[in-house]
């Protein structure tokens, strides 16, 4: 391992070789993964039991009698399809609006001049500390005054001013070489044209990260929709499952099926976009430094 040649040889060889330390580490990885996945497996198996079998004492992992009854009941009796559509509408709208406004604002703060810019930037950074958890009640009364309680807009708009996303994109836009833009200005391109044809394409990885994280956060958001909706027809997945399904007396098999339904879309998204999500975490995380 002392020369480059040796390093390269070792690297290519270790892809195939099972050294003792690799065997130990891999076994450890399998054990830890089993612990992480066990609760999910438990949820899946519970959802495939009958309601009476689900509450048997002592509990057992595999259903004695496999049945899709809980899943069938979920679609027949619950509002689950409504909640799914609501979640989709809210998350897609939030993601689209957040991407648009935070890309514009991040760029505006990073690359344009206007009076009061630094003060406004400071105010936006202070906004990092305000969330529905911190100021939920005053936010609710504000939304109530606007007449947006129990509406899609009431659920969507208050999630659309995330200072963190602006900050992440601001940091990214600051890193783009100014020369790229200046060349275009000299060729007579306007500010907007430069933004859409040069800056946005360059920012695609950052925008993907912001978009994916906004979507995850919005799909899984419980607190704000919980505050702003009472109508079960308008609830999102996490909400409907937690509040409505619980209130009828808990049917565990059905509840677990519903929970898996609520988690499934993001798990599919993760499997397909794993690389972007991982680099997104790295990027957004490190941008906070």
């Amino acid at each position: 391992m002392t020369t480059d040649a040796a390093l390269i040889r070792i690297k290519t060889r270790t892809r195939k070789a099972w050294t003792p330390s690799q065997i130990v580490l891999t076994l450890l990885g399998v054990a830890v993964s089993a612990v992480f996945l066990a609760p999910l497996a438990w949820a899946l198996f519970t959802s495939l039991k009958s309601e009476t079998e689900a509450v048997e004492v002592p509990p057992h992992w595999l259903p004695k009698e496999w049945t899709g009854q809980a899943w069938k009941a979920l679609f027949q009796t619950g509002n689950i399809t409504d909640w799914f559509v609501n979640s989709l509408v809210v998350s897609v709208c939030v993601t689209a609006i957040v991407l648009t406004v935070s890309a514009l604002a991040g760029y505006g703060f990073a690359r344009t001049e206007f009076r009061g810019k630094n003060v406004l930037m400071g105010v936006v950074m202070a906004g990092l500390m305000v969330s529905p958890a911190v100021l939920g009640v005053p936010l609710f009364t504000t939304v109530q005054q606007m007449g947006m309680v129990d509406t899609y807009w009431g659920m969507i708009l208050p999630q659309c001013a995330p200072a963190a996303m602006v900050y992440i994109l601001y940091k990214f836009f600051q890193g783009i070489p100014k020369e790229l833009e200046e060349a275009a200005f000299i060729d007579g391109a306007g500010r907007w044209r430069v933004f859409f044809t040069i800056v946005v394409p360059l920012a695609r990885p950052s925008l993907a990260a912001v978009g994916i994280f906004t979507f995850i956060a919005s799909w899984n958001n419980f607190l704000w929709p919980y505050m702003v909706t009472n109508n079960p027809d308008l609830m999102t997945m996490p909400n409907g499952i937690a509040t409505v399904m619980n209130s009828y007396g808990i049917q565990w098999a059905q509840l677990m099926a519903g929970g898996l339904m609520a988690g499934l879309p993001l798990i599919v998204v993760f499997v397909f976009f794993q690389r972007q999500i991982v680099s997104g975490v790295a990027h957004t995380g490190l941008a906070g430094q």
Partner: protein, 313 residues
């Protein structure tokens, strides 16, 4: 409300228009900034700044949920809050939760990342396994663990052969929420650590090996110092998130305050005052106190970071 949004937006917009008309040449391209930030600032003013100002105003009134009878009562709400044992209890529960969760998550995330980083096969598989719980909604994670912790029918007691009343005894209820949270959220910090580990230049380790450093020395003298920034970030993000804990705690206790009110968190207390007792003025005062606490934590972090940078110079 509309007026407040406009007053915030108006200066940059007017300024940008005036400046755009007046300037020529190279600088021109860098004007018009107001239009870029205006849409965000409009939403920000309506849903962040205005509620904050409104909360400050309401905190000095006795407003109820419909906003009527908002009589000005000065500092009475704050005085009452500071003498309210329920407020101190709920603040204590959130602080206790934070004190338990933050060190555990930081250490656990680091160990998981080291493990995933050093196994040469199936990186994507470990990433998927450790990150998967984070993709579930908090309420689903809460329901799932409520079911796992269920005495009798739950798997936790069965697997470990114990008989712990996790959800119904005040000494275990918050611990159950902590365990749920660890399982549910460690994946995010794990990915941060993993990315940071991958970012450490390999030649540092090679040089150390040449100098005869063993694995322990490399870890203490290279890995840990190189991860200091990410550790600071993980801790800061976790503190802010943990202080705001709400979802899992209420879901696991069927939206109640837990056995002997032992899992009522600060957010839950605020919402109860606002939406159950309809005391919007009082709830606003508590919200402002909470905002000050969060701001103090955030400012303390900034201050620490700056001191460290200056110390390094």
């Amino acid at each position: 409300m509309t007026t407040s949004a406009e007053t915030v937006i108006a200066p940059p917009r007017a300024q940008a228009a005036a400046a755009g008309a007046a300037t020529v040449g190279r600088k021109q391209g860098f004007q018009h900034g107001g239009w870029f930030v205006a849409p965000f600032l409009a939403l920000f003013a309506l849903f962040v700044i205005w509620p904050l100002l409104r909360g400050i105003y309401l905190s000095f009134t006795d407003a109820n949920i419909s906003g009527d009878s908002a009589g000005f009562i000065g500092f009475d709400n704050y005085r009452e809050a500071l003498h309210d044992p329920l407020m101190w209890d709920s603040l204590g529960h959130s602080a206790f939760f934070t004190l338990l969760v933050v060190p555990c998550i930081t250490v656990l995330a680091f160990l998981l990342a080291m493990l995933a980083h050093h196994i040469e096969r199936g990186t994507w598989l470990w990433r998927l396994c450790f990150f998967l719980p984070f993709l579930l909604p908090s309420t689903v994670a809460g329901n799932l663990w409520q079911w796992l912790f269920n005495p009798g029918t739950g798997m936790v007691n069965h697997v470990f052969g114990i008989d712990t009343p996790w959800l119904t005894d005040k000494s275990y209820a918050m611990l159950a929420v902590v365990i749920t949270t660890l399982w549910w959220t460690v994946g995010f910090s794990f990915l941060l650590y993993l990315a940071a580990l991958q970012g450490i230049p390999g030649h540092l380790y090679e040089a150390a090996k040449l100098d005869g450093a063993n694995a322990w020395h490399r870890m203490v003298h290279i890995t840990l110092p190189m991860l200091r920034n990410i550790t600071g970030l993980v801790i800061a993000l976790q503190i802010l998130a943990s202080l705001q804990v709400f979802d899992q705690a209420v879901v696991m206790q069927d939206f109640g305050p837990g056995p002997e009110e032992s899992t009522r968190t600060f957010v839950q207390f605020t919402l109860e005052q606002g939406f159950t007792s309809y005391r919007v003025g009082y709830a606003s005062a508590i919200s402002i106190i909470f905002f000050v606490i969060i701001a103090a934590v955030a400012l303390a972090r900034m201050w620490l970071l700056r001191n460290r940078e200056e110390g390094a110079r």
